[in-house]
Amino acid sequence: MKFRLLTLTTLTAAGIAGSAFAADTVKLGYQLPLTGDTAQYGQDFRKAAEIALTEFNAAGKPFKVEIVFEDSRSDAKEGTNIARKFVDDKEIVGVLGDFTSGVSMAAAQVYKDAGMPQLSQTASHPDYTKISKYQFRNIATQAQEGPYNAKWMAAKGFKNVAVIAEQTDWGQSVVSGFSDAVKANGGTVAFSEFFNRGLKDYRSLISKLERAKPDAIYTGFFYEDGAQFLKQLQQLGIKTPVYSTSAAYSPKLIELAGGAAEGVHLTSNFLPTDPSPNVQHFVDEWKKRSDGAVPGQFPAQAYDAVRIMLAAVEKASPNPTREKVRDALAQTRDFPGVTGKTSFSADREAEKELVKVEVKGGAFVPVAD
């Protein structure tokens, strides 16, 4: 069985090597939502990828790289179809994406069988990288972030906490990653509930949550849901402190929630205000393409993911194959990205440094505790 798989991989690898030999262009696939409810994220990823790609192709490397973007609409079925398409294209040596954990995991099943390296900039469900040795991610998982935040909140003296998260694979990993750590630290989870993504009115949920009288609220949401939640929390006159994950870290959160976002605590691994030259370079490039808007954490992760993939392709060249790209990815150590130094651990998790951030005076400000 193992032998057969090995032969198969070698054969496929040889096949790709043969076709890639002729061309001096290397092809990568990027599956991401470009339309539908989550299109705003996919559009940002594409923009970030284009910045990284333009830079790479302008740097005078011996070969050019082309990225094929395919719209998955954050739909698992669509994601799997794209995965088959990418796998069938013998010139594609590596794939980036998808956006959500659910779609990334569905597509991963196809990539696993075909031996295609897959690097997602955002899929943070713990099970994603466990699918096979071909799955990588460039984001801290909730298994990292949950305990980190639990410790932070415990240090602030919040013993009795409420948790809410969106009803998705990711949201469930937020709740389990955090709740387990709270209990291990001797705290209690007074309230735990899921809501549907895109819910407009959180007031019922907030009233119910407040009945449990928590010291603080831990939330797993993205900026759209987060802004509504925070605004309605303020409307109902509730002052309980709110903590959140890096998923809510976006300038849009403050833009949409305004004063209601004041005092929200969250973690992040990207700060657009970081003075280091590569961060400022990315922020400038981003601003040029987005009417002066500042990038959030997700585009930064996508930018880094694309550059990590490009570095792996370069390492695997000449004649990169899927297998060689995978091995090169796995060897990534201390990649100097805009989201800090990235190394892949033996189980292909990105080891990220997290920064504590608080919203103060309408901006994300790093805090010591």
Binding site: G36, Q40, Q43, K208, A227, K231
Partner: protein, 304 residues
């Protein structure tokens, strides 16, 4: 004795129901009363919200002007929608075509097509992310009424919905144009025979209904502070459920059912996980269709 928690949930439910009702009124006028299958109402709502937002960011006019602007866009959108997706199916005036169910129901797809085109066009033009409404325009300043907290928008929406409901009831039952609408709805061929200008009646209904849809859109944009291309979808579904529960042709029925829907959703959140509260709407739809095929407030008349 009575837990103020339940009062607060009741108030939230009523306010939620009001937002559904606001959408349901225009929707029911076109879909239910005029008896024309129209699935593009959600996009009229979105267009109204975007029109208001564009106006706000361009010239920062007073709020009344914003709503008037949204109404004008709504009227234009309703007129164009009718012209693009509905009028072509009425070009055959022979009796067989006029009585044909297929001709009538084909607007299900043509209106759906228009709605998809509009939504994608808005996505290309404005991007699909949520756009914020400047804070000075928002209508969500908290107001405390005894033990419960509401926001200013709840009262504005109540006022607008009540005005729409009363205005439409007056129009439909007391005026000649209302009579014409009901006649066309009941029997388009018969209406034509007795000399009613059916084309004009249908266009008028579309314009009025779409103005209400656009007004609902901008009000919701100001209420929640976020405008985005996909915003019309969920309210459209809730309005549809309210309309079917209310008996298709009854606007007061749709309003009452929208309120029932809102209250049940907020009350259900107390007992089940919030993730399940959408099930309430669909559960009600199924129960109504099984036990009250004519809706809770529907007149017993044969539907086409």
């Amino acid at each position: 004795m009575f837990d103020p928690y339940y009062l607060q949930q009741l108030a939230i439910g009523l306010s939620l129901g009001m937002t559904y009702a606001l959408m349901a009124i225009g929707f029911t006028l076109i879909f239910g009363v005029l008896n024309v299958v129209n699935f593009a109402h959600g996009e009229i709502y979105t267009l109204g919200a975007f029109a208001g937002l564009v106006l706000i960011s361009a010239t920062a006019p007073p709020i009344v002007a914003v709503i008037l602007g949204a109404l004008a866009i709504g009227a234009l959108a309703g007129f164009s929608l009718e012209r693009i997706a509905f009028k072509p199916f009425r070009r055959f005036t022979d009796e067989a075509s006029l009585k044909s169910r297929a001709m009538r129901e084909s607007t299900l797809l043509s209106s759906l097509a228009v709605s998809i085109v509009v939504r994608e066009a808005l996505e290309i033009a404005f991007g699909s992310q949520m756009r914020s409404v400047p804070f000075e325009y928002l209508i969500n300043t908290p107001v405390r009424v005894g033990p419960v907290i509401l926001v200013t928008g709840d009262f504005i929406i109540f006022g607008v919905a009540a005005a729409m409901l009363i205005g439409l009831q007056y129009l439909l039952t007391r005026t000649r144009i209302g009579l014409a609408i009901r006649a066309v709805s009941n029997n388009p061929l018969g209406a034509k025979y007795v000399g009613i200008d059916t084309d004009r009646t249908i266009i008028t209904t579309f314009v009025v209904g779409s103005m209400m849809g656009a007004a609902a859109g901008i009000l919701m944009g100001l209420y929640y502070g976020a405008v985005f291309p996909a915003m019309g979808f969920t309210p459209g579904i809730k309005a549809f459920v309210a309309m079917v529960m209310g008996g298709l042709s009854s606007i007061p029925g749709a309003v009452i059912c929208a309120l029932i829907l809102g209250i049940s959703e907020s009350m259900a959140t107390t007992f089940v996980s919030s993730g399940w509260s959408d099930m309430v709407a669909y559960g009600f739809l199924i129960l109504t269709l099984i036990f009250f095929p004519n809706g809770l407030f529907g007149a017993r008349r044969e539907r086409v």
